[in-house]
């Protein structure tokens, strides 16, 4: 294996790691506050990708816009809008902002809705009950998309094309990879600041430490829990859209593997620990990409499961599990 390939795999690993970390934050936020594994999180990631694709299609798909404007002339604004979004640099940035915000907000709200309907009634039930309920939600969402959207793989347009950002030691890095990593890091820093510095962040930390005591101190626990269920899925939605762009297609059960891997990442970092999830995401992404270079690709997906089992057995607290007290 030449140095070049190792660097290439490393770059891929960081990109994957950024996405895993974003998804892992969703698991860790919910676990930190409710001590439950939100099994449906991977489905929210998938739905985020579908919402993103929907908005992208509406705003940029030539064939779709022609058909729509022919059917309803009131939608005529789509034609100049498309030219703006695709043609100009400012347009692409706006397009990204619109796509991601729509996806984040809709999936975030879906997360809050799921919490309200499927998890809140079970808050005082034995721990197995919310977990089984979450498995149920996951199956429901997956099949809802399968039935009401499509069961086949849908191609995801590569908005950025194959443009190269820069070349590093003979390895050219695509703009998309840079965008993924930068966005992921920006969102993570923002979340870290929000949870660490703001009043509401403090409320979330208090709720995760001791729900009842926090309630007695006048903190709106339900609001804190709802926030966790909004922020987590919203970040997952970003990862979902990136996942679609990165792999070029999406399918109704696409959430399962990245979801499992992101959960592994959250466990590696110490579940319930925000910075741990970020670190775990990047560690897992890099390890997996490098290992895929050594092993046959058929076993690529086993690596994450193996790491998960080994970490749970030998260091169930995770890498940062015990050293950092702060957890949300």
């Amino acid at each position: 294996m030449s140095v070049q390939i190792i660097i290439e795999q490393f770059v891929n690993g960081i990109t994957l790691g950024g996405m895993y970390a974003l998804i892992a934050l969703g698991y860790t936020l919910v676990y930190g506050i409710l001590l439950m594994i939100n099994f449906a999180h991977s489905e929210l990631v998938m739905i985020g990708a579908y919402v993103g694709l929907g908005v992208l299609t509406l705003l940029t798909n030539q064939a779709f816009i022609e058909k729509t404007t022919a059917a309803t002339p009131a939608m005529g604004w789509l034609v100049p809008a498309r030219e703006f979004f695709v043609g100009t640099p400012l347009g692409i940035v706006t397009l990204f902002a619109i796509v991601f915000l729509t996806s984040m907000i809709s999936v975030g709200l879906l997360g809050v809705l799921i919490e309200r309907l499927a998890y809140r009634p079970l808050r005082h039930a034995p721990r197995l009950a919310p977990l089984i309920s979450a498995v149920g939600v996951s199956i429901f969402l997956q099949n809802a998309v399968l039935l009401w959207v499509d069961s086949k793989q849908i191609p995801f347009p590569s908005v950025l094309g194959t443009s190269k950002a820069f070349t590093f030691m003979g390895v050219s890095v695509s703009t998309l990879k840079v965008v993924i990593v930068v966005t992921a890091i920006v969102l993570m820093v923002a979340l870290d600041l929000y949870v660490g510095r703001t009043r509401m962040g403090k409320a979330m930390r208090a709720t995760s430490q001791d729900r009842e005591a926090a309630g007695l101190m006048g903190i709106d626990i339900n609001l804190a829990i709802m926030l966790a269920f909004f922020i987590g899925p919203a970040l997952g939605a970003v990862a979902g859209v990136f996942y679609g762009m990165y792999y070029g297609s999406i399918v109704f059960n696409m959430g399962f593997l990245p979801g499992m891997k992101a959960f592994t990442a959250a466990v590696i970092g110490g579940i319930g620990n925000l910075r741990g999830a970020m670190l775990g995401g990047f560690v897992l992404g890099i390890v997996e990409s490098l290992a895929a270079g050594f092993l046959s690709t058929g076993y690529k997906d086993v690596i994450a499961f193996m790491i998960l089992i080994l970490v749970l057995i030998f260091r169930p607290g995770g890498l940062l599990g015990e050293s950092v007290v702060e957890k949300v």
Partner: protein
Amino acid sequence: MGGGKMDVSTKVSSGRMTPTKIALYVLLGLVLVISPIIFEGMGMLFMTRIMALVGLYVMLALGLNIVVGFAGLLDLGYIAFYAIGAYSGVIIGTVSLKYFPAALQPYSYFMMIPIAAAFAALAGLALGTPVLRLRGDYLAIVTLGFGEIVRIIINNNALGITNGAAGLPRAGEFLPKPAGLEWLQNHAYFTLPDIGNNGFNFAFSSNLYWYYIIVILCLITIFVVQRLNDSRLGRSWVAMREDEVAASSMGVSIHGAKLWAFALGAVWGGIAGVTFANFQQFVSPESFTFMESVFVVCSVVIGGMGSIPGAIVGALLIQGTPEFIRGFAASGIIPGLSGEQVSAISNYRNLVFGLVMVLMMIWRPQGILPSKRRAAELNADEDILEEENETLYDVQHDTGRFGDSADQ
């Protein structure tokens, strides 16, 4: 629990046999034995096949019920034991065929049963040992990972013995007919030409053979699982499920109880697996996906965790309903049901199951046919209190009726 209930009534499940109960069991037995003969005679051969398949799912649900229901360990990778049973049985079976005399071939399946069970139990221990210290939700994830690892390894043709996605047996190899099938096919047939339009033509089919084998295996499973539930081990599972710390301070070996649960649960998965492989004459990794595990978990949860009749009813509902609908549609007995509609039904099945799992947890966490003890555990405290008061009353006035007032 109030009074002396726990001391006196150690036998949890069975009640006394009343004449009505006996009559009911006899009737059920007759239906189980005769209905497939009627279906076969009327030319509805697919019904026997489906009934046999559903029987396998009942076995799986009963096996998983040991792990999830009795011991309270959520296993999301149970189908791995089914796969291990099927593959170990088929692989060792086909290899041993080459070394054993031909006269032993018909007994190959029966000899594979203990082997498949042993392999599954070993796999259960292999999964159970490293996860002994894990809590419920971590455990669920690890078992899920275990299930996926097993499937991926089989799919990748590990060590060159599983034949990858193409499945087993390979071209040119075969699974021999089990003992007695050939004789029955040649001797057991009759015709009653006056019944129905085409007459009643019964001929013993291999489906029917496997159906009876599976019914017998189910009965054995029910018997053993029931005895397990009433045993010392069964009580230690309940104690562990309700409070691990309290149980271990009362002298229950938590590690032992967990390992036994994994191993004894896996055994039934393994036996069902090798039976499935011989019945289908074929195994491939696509029969062992995560969704299959979820369906078995659904059966147990919806039927009622820890309840044996619950597991049976759950398996019948979850696995049986769609199979029967599909079978009827494929046979054209229900007119106007197209293939597309059938696949839509099977897709909506999953959607509905997801919903049912959530609603069940909210409104009836104890399941359709709950075990009393489990229901008390899952419900609010006042329910338990009420039950305790009732029991106390019973204790003081009629000490002979514990068996009836207890489980089921």
